[in-house]
Symmetry: C2
Amino acid sequence: MEFSSKLLQNAVYEMSQLPGIGKRTALRLVLHLLKQPEERTELLAHALLKLKSEVNFCKNCHNISDTEVCEICANPKRDETMVCVVEDIRDVMAIENTSQYNGLYHVLGGKISPMEGVGPQDLNIAPLIKKVKDGTIKELILALSSTMEGDTTNFYIYKQLEGTEVTTSTIARGISVGDELEYADEVTLGRSIINRVPFESSIKAN
Amino acid sequence: MEFSSKLLQNAVYEMSQLPGIGKRTALRLVLHLLKQPEERTELLAHALLKLKSEVNFCKNCHNISDTEVCEICANPKRDETMVCVVEDIRDVMAIENTSQYNGLYHVLGGKISPMEGVGPQDLNIAPLIKKVKDGTIKELILALSSTMEGDTTNFYIYKQLEGTEVTTSTIARGISVGDELEYADEVTLGRSIINRVPFESSIKAN
C-alpha cells in the first residue's frame, strides 16, 4: 500500500501491529479517528499510555489491579485455602461471572509454548510453587485452556508440586450446556463419559 | 464487563469506541499491548497524536498530504482538465493502483447521508463547484460508491453544475471481471446490457 502522507503511513503501520488488525482495517480505524474531534484521539492515546506506565499487578495473585493487593485477594470473605490457576485476567473475569467460585486466583500471564518461545521462567509459576510450599493452600484448581499448551503447563505445575500435600484438580471437560451430543468431538464425549457425575449432583448444580 | 482496574477499564473503553471493535476485541488488543515492551504503546499513541495534530490536506484536491499541494496535484504530467470525484483517500489509492487514470482527484470527505447527519455543507462540494466554474476542468468523473448515498451525492453535484460546460460522467457499473453471469444481480446485469461497449474497445482494455 502506498500512502500520500508519511504521517498517515506511520499511524497505519503502528495500528496494524495489533493482533488481528490488517493494513486495510488499520487504515479504516485511522481515517475514522481523523474524522472525529481531536479529543477522541487524545483520550485513546493517553488512556493507553497511562495504562502502560501506571499498570500495577496484585503482589499476591498477579492480576491487573490499581491497588497493591487486588480486591479479590483483599476480600476476607474469600476462601484463601483454594487457588484457581488461570492464564490471564480474562479468565478471572469469566470465572467471576459464573458466581460459582469463592476462592482466590493465581494469574500465570500465559501458557508454556515452545512455538512462541514462552518457557516456565516467563510465567508466574515460581511464585505459585512458593505460595503452595509456604502452607495455607489446600486445593489448587488448574483452569487453563484445553489445548496442547494448556495441558503442558498443567503438567509442568503438577510435576513441580510433587512432594507437597496440596490437592490439585482441573476443571471438568465435557459437553457444553446446550450442545447436541451428535456434534460433540469424540475426545470430549469420551472424557465426559469417563468423568460422569452422580445425577443428583448435576441437578443441584442447575 | 467488570474490570479489576480503572486504568484497564478506561483503555478498553476508549479502544472500543473505534468502529468494528467491540469490548472483547478491545480487551484483547489492550492486553496484547500490556504484554509488549513499552515502546510499542508509545509508538502507537504518538503516531496517532502526531497524525491528528499535524495532518494536512492538499489545498487543491483535499486529499491527505504532508505538503501543501499533494504529489498528484503537483505532478505536471497529470492531465489537469480531468478531475475524478471520490469519497476519501482509500478511493484515490484504489484508482491509482489500476494505473488507468492520469487526471487529478477531488476528495469529498464523505457522502451526503441524512441518516448519519451528513449534508452537502459538511463535504468539500462547494470548493469543487468553484473549481469547475473557474475554468480549466473539462471532464468530471463521479466515482462514488454505488449506494443510495453515493447516487444522491452524484445527483446533488450534477444539479449544482447546471449551466456550466463541464462534461460529467460516472464510472461504469457492470459485471465484475471474473464474475459468473448467473450470480449477478438483475440491476447490475441490466445496466451492463444498456451500457454495452463495442467489442473492439473491450479487447483494447485488457
